[in-house]
């Protein structure tokens, strides 16, 4: 197996190259981008990020924790304060709201770590500091006999450079 990395200047070129590669049956594709371009990420994998599920779980756990904690604690040792009921929902809603946000936010960042593959201890040799400048990269894994075809295809889509990297 070989790996080719094509270097591009514009996100539209990356999208076109990725689409073409997928149409030809090369599915082991990775892209690198210097800034967020959702169209590039969607070209590789159109499914929405699963982070949204994490936020939902975090938020639900937070709201349940907020109400459960306040109601249980207020009733665990009942003290009458200002003649208000032990289980008074309006003030506890504030705690539940804050915990919804807190747990939702923490779970969102956990989702970023899980689905973004962070922390990554070994950086792929195909990665190049040019991808943290202003260049885009398309990395394709293929059989050795397909290298010429992919090289031509990437250049056809205005790749400024195509390099072989160790796989």
């Amino acid at each position: 197996m070989a790996r080719l990395v094509g270097i591009f200047e514009l996100p539209a070129q990356v999208v076109a190259a990725v689409k073409q590669l997928q149409a030809r049956g090369y599915t082991d594709i990775e892209t690198y981008a210097p800034a967020p371009f959702p169209e590039v990420d969607d070209a590789v994998d159109p499914k929405p990020s699963k982070v949204r599920l994490m936020t939902l779980i975090g938020g639900l756990v937070g709201v349940v924790t907020g109400y459960a904690m306040t109601i249980w604690m207020a009733n665990n040792w009942q003290i009458m304060i200002g003649g208000k009921p032990f289980t008074s929902i309006p003030p506890y809603t504030i705690i539940a709201f804050e915990l919804t946000i807190l747990f939702g936010g923490l779970m969102t960042v956990l989702g970023l770590f899980i689905f973004g593959g962070l922390p990554k201890f070994k950086i792929d040799p195909a990665y190049n500091s040019r991808f943290s400048a202003e260049d885009f990269g398309v990395v394709v894994r293929c059989r050795e006999q397909d290298v010429a075809e992919i090289d031509a295809l990437l250049r056809e889509h205005d790749a400024t450079e195509v390099n072989l990297v160790e796989s």
Binding site: P34, P38, E98, I101
Partner: protein, 457 residues
């Protein structure tokens, strides 16, 4: 690939130079390079005031809150005023990052990092005051939901408990927001740094490479954090306002307090962003990134929130007159013409009259004017909280228990120290992390390049 031996022809040819780094990277990473004597002077000054305040605080822990001049009837003095002031300052960052992100206001990109960093440091500064103000610091864990020896829990009906939850949530979320936004920029710095900074950035970048799964998760996380932070930013100062509004004190017990405080917080936060970013832009030559257009947009926000604040001030006076409640009427009469009249008129003139000058476009793009105005607004907003808190407490229902409050020098020392604490962190941040979000600036640059290449737009 191993390099060829040096005695061959190939070895004599100089290695291919690295392609030049992008303009955005060079310009924005240059801010982090090198330190001038002026920088060390400012950092030293900030550290001096921070340590001065630390010394005063240790003395206060030893002697008690009496040294801060806390006596009947005013037990909430400069510490609570300064706490509310810093929480207010902390609102601009999340507003710019979250709310303007959801509105797709692209002009936020140049200023959001500075504002987010300011938010984190302001909320950490504010959090110090919870500890300073309680006096018996060793008992401050009583505000956590933790039972004492008799199994007694905290009182969740108390606004002070709401405050604990609101402030700690806000601190956590704003730190996460800042860090998540920083990860791609730290990776940029990692690829270009050497020495101990390389180690630091390698650890903090968490192996970010910017591949499609990372960006996809990142975009989604920023979107969701913005969605979560938007109601949060509006709730935090509402909760802080309820610390007052829930109490039966004339001048405090009004329903207008939550929106009034939130508008004031955004107002003061934007002013603080201007106070910080104007010198940063000038010193580091970032005029190409933070343009007059950004400052003008912020001025418009300041003008809008100033009008809301002015409306709230007027509504307070109207309601106290219209209510017919003598205590309320007296409280507001004494605000304007009582012992704290200077503070009240500073607040009215600095917060509602002076910002009206921003109706003129010429002044909205006049940077020195904006700087002076933003400092005036910061002063005016500190006095707003002073008037509300001290003014109301010293003049409650019974004239027999009225009293005067004069800020003591330990309080003023700790107030100065809070600025030192804030500036220390901000100055260190300036030299360690990009003050302008590099990846987001590139997003704009690449979009422009793409449209230029297609010859459209």
């Amino acid at each position: 690939m191993t390099p060829p031996p040096t005695n061959t022809v190939a070895g004599m040819i100089r290695p291919v130079p690295m392609p030049p780094d992008s303009q955005t990277n060079r310009d924005l990473l240059a801010v982090m390079k090198g330190t001038s004597p002026g920088y060390w002077f400012l950092l030293g000054l900030a550290l001096f005031f921070m340590h001065l305040a630390g010394g005063i605080w240790i003395w206060q822990v030893y002697k008690g809150l009496g040294i801060a001049g806390y006596a009947h009837p005013v037990f909430w003095g400069v510490y609570v005023v300064t706490f509310v002031f810093w929480v207010g300052i902390a609102h601009a960052g999340t507003l710019i990052s979250a709310i303007l992100f959801l509105f797709r206001a692209k002009w936020r990109n140049a200023i959001n990092r500075g504002a987010e960093a300011m938010t984190v440091f302001a909320v950490l500064t504010a959090a110090q005051f919870l500890g300073i103000h309680v006096g018996r610091i060793w008992k401050s864990y009583f505000i956590l939901p933790y039972p004492n020896q008799r199994g007694l829990w905290v009182n969740f009906k108390s606004p002070l408990l709401w405050d604990t939850f609101a402030i700690s949530t806000y601190a956590t979320i704003s730190i996460l927001f800042l860090y998540v936004g920083l990860i791609p920029d730290i990776a940029i710095a990692r690829d270009r740094a050497t020495g101990w900074k390389k180690v630091l950035y390698t650890v903090l970048a968490l192996g970010w490479v910017g591949n499609s799964s990372q960006w996809k998760a990142h975009n989604r996380s920023v979107l969701h954090l913005s969605g979560l932070a938007t109601p949060l930013v509006l709730s935090v100062h509402s909760v802080v306002s309820w610390d007052f509004a829930m109490a039966l004190v004339p001048g405090w017990h009004t329903t207008i307090f939550a929106p009034y405080f939130v508008a004031g917080a955004i107002f003061s936060g934007f002013a603080m962003v201007l106070t910080l970013m104007i010198p940063v832009r000038r010193i580091f030559g970032l005029e190409a990134y933070i343009t007059d257009y950004h400052f003008e947009n912020m001025s418009r926000f300041i003008l809008l929130t100033s009008i809301i604040c002015g409306y709230a001030y007027a509504a307070e006076y109207f309601m106290s007159w219209y209510s017919g409640v003598e205590a309320e009427q007296t409280a507001f009469w004494l605000r304007a013409f009582g012992p704290y009249w200077i503070s009240t008129w500073v607040m009215i003139i600095f917060n509602t009259v002076l910002p009206q000058l921003l109706w003129f476009k010429k002044l909205r793009v006049n940077v020195p004017f904006l700087f002076v105005l933003s400092v005036c607004i910061n002063i005016g907003m500190w006095f707003e909280r002073y008037v509300i808190i001290v003014g109301a407490l010293s003049r409650e229902y019974n004239p027999a228990v009225w009293g005067e409050f004069i800020p003591s020098w330990p309080e003023m020392g700790i107030l100065a120290g809070s600025f030192g604490f804030f500036c220390t962190f901000f100055l260190i941040f300036l030299k360690l992390f990009p003050i302008v979000a590099i990846a987001e600036m590139k997003e704009i640059a690449i979009h422009e390049k793409a449209h230029g290449a297609q010859g459209s737009h």
